[in-house]
């Protein structure tokens, strides 16, 4: 059998396979370069970037839970100028669409970030993070309310010609309502899910295990919630979806694709296996060959009746 086609298109971002990285779990790419061939990734989504450098939350910032981790990084990052001047030139060496995850405290911050990144060579798209549970201002404050979420998307769309992917939070009553609001406001694609708000207690110290008290749950523990979210939104809307949440193996990734995701992002699994993205790409290809599927497109949403 000839090699199956793995290429997908997410709102104009052309990926040679459906596998990308989840923001915040893959740095700016070079951290994982000793282990993976960056040219083989479908795309890279880089660490959440803000207008000015951010210090982040005090440690401990991470704690392990059954089949998952809780993190409260608090968006520590060196700021958008560092990203453009230092990280992006490195990433431009590779044949790799770069998607920049952006976060702000105010609607104006998002607009300014979008404008700053517009037309910068090497940036293929923006992922708008309105769903971070670990920062006081911004983050989830926008992502939990359809009107505020739509307002952020409108200013971002007004400030850039880049494809705009909006990252949704599962910490809401109806993720479909949020999805509808941001698509109505102009979102070209959706990514889901961000982490679930959670907490753990250190019983010896009788204190919360994270310095920030609460954090975001990720890893295999959240996969069923994420697959459900992708399924519901795919059923309700015609918009490309980047699915993520607990993907560790190619089988996990294929579940998201069959639920309706055009592409998938690998997050926490990178920490366990630095080659997780490569193994997942290989595994998806092997599955297509075994199942005699010539094009990955055939599987997108395939589980829907």
């Amino acid at each position: 059998m000839i090699k199956p086609n793995l290429a997908v298109d997410v709102a104009g971002i052309r990926m040679k396979n459906p596998v990308t990285t989840a923001s915040g779990t893959f740095g700016f790419g070079f951290e994982y370069a000793p282990f993976v061939d960056l040219n083989r990734l479908g795309a890279i989504v880089v660490k959440g970037t803000t207008l000015l450098p951010r210090r982040g939350n005090p440690p401990p910032r991470i704690v392990e839970t059954p089949a998952g981790i809780l993190n409260a990084i608090g968006l520590q990052n060196p700021g958008v100028d560092y990203f453009i001047e230092v990280a992006l030139p490195y990433l431009r060496q590779f044949d790799l669409p770069v998607i920049v995850n952006i976060a702000g405290d105010t609607v104006e911050d998002y607009a300014a970030l979008a404008a700053r990144l517009d037309g910068v060579p090497g940036v293929a798209g923006l992922e708008v993070n309105i769903s971070c549970p670990n920062v006081k201002k911004g983050g989830l404050a926008f992502g939990a309310d359809p009107d505020s979420a739509a307002a952020v998307v409108r200013v971002v769309k007004g400030a850039t010609r880049l494809p705009v992917v909006v990252k949704l939070s599962p910490n809401v009553t109806s993720i479909v309502r949020l999805a509808e609001a941001v698509v109505e406001a102009g979102a070209d694609a959706l990514s889901m899910i961000n982490t679930l708000l959670g907490m753990a207690i250190d019983i010896r110290r009788r204190r919360p295990a994270l310095a920030n008290v609460m954090g975001g749950l990720s890893g295999p523990a959240i996969k069923p919630v994420a697959v459900r979210a992708v399924w519901q939104v795919y059923q309700a809307l015609k918009v490309p979806i980047v699915g993520m949440g607990g993907i560790v193996t190619a089988e996990d990734a294929l579940e998201f694709i069959m639920a309706g995701a055009t592409a998938v992002a690998v997050g926490t699994a990178n920490f366990i296996n630095p080659r997780a993205t490569m193994d997942i790409i290989d595994g998806i290809e092997k599955f297509l060959v075994e199942e005699r599927v010539s094009d990955i497109q055939e599987l997108i949403g395939a589980a829907h009746m």
Partner: protein, 264 residues
Amino acid sequence: MVADIPAGVVQQEQVGPGQYRLTLYAPVIASLAVPGQFVYIRCTDGLDPLLRRPLSIHGVNRERGELFLLYQVVGRGTALLAARRRGERLGVMGPLGRGFTLPEPGRRVILVGGGIGVAPLVFLGQELVHRNNQVCLLVGVRSADQLPVGKKGYTVPFDFAVATDDGSCGHHGSVTDLLEKVLAGEGVDMVYACGPRGMLRQTASLLARYNVPGEFSLEERMGCGVGACLSCVCKTAGKGGEPSQYRRVCVEGPVFPAEQLVWD
């Protein structure tokens, strides 16, 4: 260069209560490792516990391609690790992080280890002796049976002195008492330390008082081990009046100059 390889267990040996010395066949890591670096190791093939565990490099035998780890069982990951036997293979990433900076030959160097914190210092001490430095290791443990060095099979090629909390061996008291005596005496060029936070904090204030430079190996909870997730940060002083900042233990550390650390 960094590798992620399945390393074979050569030997798993219990050396104290809950303390183990693990020998792995990992020639690439053994050939690259310098004192102070660590490995990020999968204790199980399954997904529970999910994350790898960071362990300092306790020594290498480059000819035989072997890597030594010394660890204390504290929870589920290290308990699973202790159950691994000869012939099994574990995922090992390394060598990771920045190691100790080594002084010129001929210097007088003091190593200060609290409990299992001696793990990276033994490798460092061997390297320092090899480079013709004068080395003395000060070890602090709760009780004599927890002493990882100095017993049968655990000889080290340099001087050492012991402090125990219960007085069962050596000085009755803390290892920083021993350090203070040494610092108050003849010239010490450099101090390297690894151990509990409280011990490091006290060591830092002694070094400041006696105006002796030092380097500490720190621990923080890790996610990726390679600098990508920003989980493992510690607070460091800003340069020239700038505010303090968080730096990653896994790539900017685990070894930091003592005077750069903020202890609040």
